[in-house]
Amino acid sequence: MQYWRWLTGVVDPVTGERDGGILYGDFGYSRTASQPVIDIVRERFPNTVDLALWTIYPMLSIGIWMGVQAAVNQNKFFDQAARVYSIVGTSFPTFVFGLLLLMLLYAKAGWFMPGKQSNWVTALIYSGELKQYTHLLTIDAILNLRFDVLWDALRHMIMPIITLSYINWATFVRVTRSSMLETLRQDYVVTARAKGLKEKDVINNHARPNAMLPVVTLAGSSIVGLLGGVVITETVFNYPGIGKAAADAAAQLDVVTILGLAIFTGTILIITNLIVDVIYAFIDPRVRLT
C-alpha cells in the first residue's frame, strides 16, 4: 500500500492535485539534502556525464594500445610488465589509490584539487557571466571561450580521470591481449603475412579490427558503469556526481533518496545498454543476422 502510494502518489480529494508518485515524475523529497530528489538528479547528473566524457578517451585508447602491444610482444618485457600491471591494477582498491593520489598530488604537491570547481568559478556561474548552455562545465567553458575556467575544471577532474582510467586499463589490457593473441593465430593473419605485407599493416589492418569485438563489449559495459555513477571515485574526490549523492544518502540511511536515485540510474543503464547494443550491430554485421 505504501509502495503503491510511492509509485502513484496521493490525490488530494479537495483540489484534485497529485502529491508525489514516481510514475508522475515526482521522486519524493530528500530529507538529507533538503531538496526534491529530482533536483539532485538534475544538478548532479551533468557532472557525472562531464567526468565520463573526459574519461572515455584516455581509458579506451591507452588501454587498448597497451593490450595490443602486450599481445604483439608476447612473453617479452612489455607483455610481462602489462601482466603484472593488470594483476596489481585489479588488486589496488580504488579508494586506496585515490587517497594516495590525493596525498601526493593534492596535499603534498598542490597541483590538482578535489571537488568540482574553484570558488571563483562558482561565483562566475552565479553572476551569470558564464552562460550554462549544457550544464556540463567543461563544454560550457569552451562554448563561452573561457579557457581559464576549462583549465580550472580539468585541474579538478584530472585525479578522478586518472583513477578511473587506471582501474579500467587493467581489465582492458587483459581482454585486449587475450583477444588479440587469439586473432593473431587465425589463418587470415598468416595469409596476410605470407603475401608479404608489412608487420605493421598486418597488425593494424588485419588483426586489430577483428580482435576488437570483446573489447567493444567491455567498453560498453564500462561506459555504462561510468554513467551509472562511479560511487567510490566520486566519493573519494568529493566530486558532486550521482554516485556521490547515492553514497551520501546511503551513509545517512535516507531511503527515499536512495530509491529515487536507484530508479534513475536503472533507467540510464537500460538506455545506455540499448544504445551500446545498437552500435554493436553496426560494428559487427554478424550480430545483425541473429
Binding site: I87, P93, A107, G229, A246, A250, V255, A262
Partner: protein
C-alpha cells in the same frame, strides 16, 4: 601395410603404442587425482602464485594469532581501543596512555620499548591503527568466507536447477541471472545495504546480505554450463534408467562431477569480496564506528584530505594491508585461471 607389420598380426597398432602413457605416477598424484594434481603442480611451479600463497599464509597466521599480536582491550575484541577522544591523528611511535593493552612477550624484543606505543599511529578519534589492522584481518576472513560460501551455494542451486530441468525453467532462471548481471555491483550493494540497515541495525550483516544477493550470478553461469555437458553422459542415463528420482540424480550423480571448476573459481572471488566489503564500509555502510575493519580505518582519512601529507600513516598502512590481501588472492587466481584454461592443458 600387412606385409611390413608381420609382428603385429591384427591391424595397425602404432597409434596405441604412441598414446600409452610413459609418465610415472607419483604417490601424490595417486592420492589426490589427476586434475587436482595438475592444478597443484601448476600452482607450485608458478612464481607469482607462490608469492600469492605466501601472502595469504601470512594473513592467515595474523588472523589466528591476533590475540597474541594485539591483546584485546575490554569485552569486545573487535572494537578498536581508543586512546582518548582527540580528533587529530597521532604519528607512529607516540605514547599510548589510555586503554593500554597488556604487553605480549614478543613486544620488547621486536620494538625495544618497555611500554606500548602506537606502532602505526592513531586514526581520527585516537583509534589505534595497528590494532585495527591486525583484527581487521579476522573481519576480512570472516566476511570473505561467509559471502563466498553463500554466493557459491546460491549459484550452485540456481545453476544446477536451470541446467538440469532445462526449457522454461532454464530460460526463466538464466534471464533473472542476466538482469542481475547488468546491475552495477557496488551501487546495488550500497543501495540494498542502506535499505537493510534500518531493519537489521548497524553490523556486518547488511553489507554481507547485500553482497550475497548481487554476487551469485557468475557461479550460476559456470555450474550451468558444466552440468549441461555432464548430464549427457552415460552414467546419468544409467541412473535415470534405474529409476532414480531427479533430485538424487542431480545432487548425487551430476553435481559431484560438475562442481569442481566452480569451487576453484570461488577461491578467486575471495579477494574481490573483501575488496567490495572494504569499499562499502569506506562509504560508511555496515559496522558501527570503531569496529576493527580496514575499510573503516581508511574512511577516517576522508576528513583529512587537505593535510594527508602530514597524516600519511592513516592511509598508507591500512591501504597497503588491504592491497596486499587482495593481491595475494588475485595472484593465486591468475595462475588458477591459466591452469584451468583448457588451452593451457599440458603446458604447465
Amino acid at each position: 601395410m600387412t606385409t611390413q607389420n608381420t609382428t603385429i598380426p591384427t591391424g595397425d597398432n602404432r597409434l596405441l603404442e604412441e598414446t600409452r602413457s610413459t609418465k610415472k605416477v607419483g604417490w601424490l598424484e595417486r592420492t589426490v587425482g589427476t586434475d587436482l594434481y595438475r592444478i597443484l603442480k601448476g600452482m607450485v611451479k608458478t612464481p607469482t602464485s607462490v608469492i600469492g600463497m605466501i601472502l595469504i599464509f601470512i594473513f592467515i597466521l595474523i588472523a589466528i594469532f591476533a590475540p597474541v599480536i594485539a591483546p584485546p582491550v575490554g569485552n569486545d575484541p573487535y572494537k578498536m581501543p581508543r586512546d582518548g577522544f582527540m580528533g587529530e591523528p597521532q604519528a607512529p611511535g607516540s605514547p599510548w596512555t589510555r586503554n593500554v593493552p597488556e604487553i605480549p612477550f614478543w613486544y620488547k624484543a621486536v620494538t625495544g620499548n618497555e611500554e606500548w606505543v602506537h606502532l602505526l599511529g592513531t586514526a581520527q578519534g585516537q583509534y589505534d591503527i595497528f590494532y585495527g589492522v591486525i583484527w581487521g584481518t579476522r573481519t576480512a576472513f570472516q566476511t570473505g568466507f561467509i559471502v563466498v560460501i553463500a554466493t557459491v551455494l546460491i549459484g550452485i542451486v540456481m545453476g544446477s536447477i536451470a541446467a538440469y530441468y532445462g526449457g522454461g525453467v532454464d530460460n526463466a532462471i538464466m534471464r533473472i541471472t542476466d538482469i542481475f548481471m547488468t546491475l552495477p555491483y557496488i551501487m546495488m550493494a550500497l543501495i540494498f545495504s542502506a535499505v537493510l540497515t534500518p531493519i537489521l541495525g548497524r553490523s556486518l550483516l547488511p553489507p554481507m546480505i547485500a553482497m550475497i544477493s548481487f554476487g551469485w550470478m557468475g557461479y550460476a553461469r559456470i555450474i550451468r554450463s558444466d552440468i549441461l555437458s555432464i548430464k549427457e553422459r552415460d552414467y546419468v542415463l544409467a541412473a535415470r534408467a534405474s529409476g532414480l528420482k531427479n533430485g538424487r540424480i542431480l545432487f548425487k550423480h551430476i553435481l559431484p562431477n560438475a562442481i569442481y571448476p566452480t569451487l576453484v573459481l570461488a577461491t578467486l572471488g575471495f579477494g574481490d569480496v573483501v575488496l567490495s566489503f572494504a569499499a562499502l564500509s569506506f562509504l560508511g555502510i555496515g559496522t558501527e564506528v570503531g569496529y576493527a575493519d580496514w575499510g573503516q580505518i581508511l574512511s577516517f582519512a576522508r576528513n583529512w584530505i587537505t593535510s594527508l601529507d602530514n597524516y600519511w600513516y592513516i592511509v598508507v598502512f591500512p591501504g597497503l594491508t588491504l592491497t596486499m590481501f587482495v593481491m595475494g588472492w588475485n595472484l593465486i587466481g591468475d595462475t588458477l585461471r591459466d591452469v584451468l584454461d583448457p588451452r593451457m592443458r599440458g603446458k604447465i
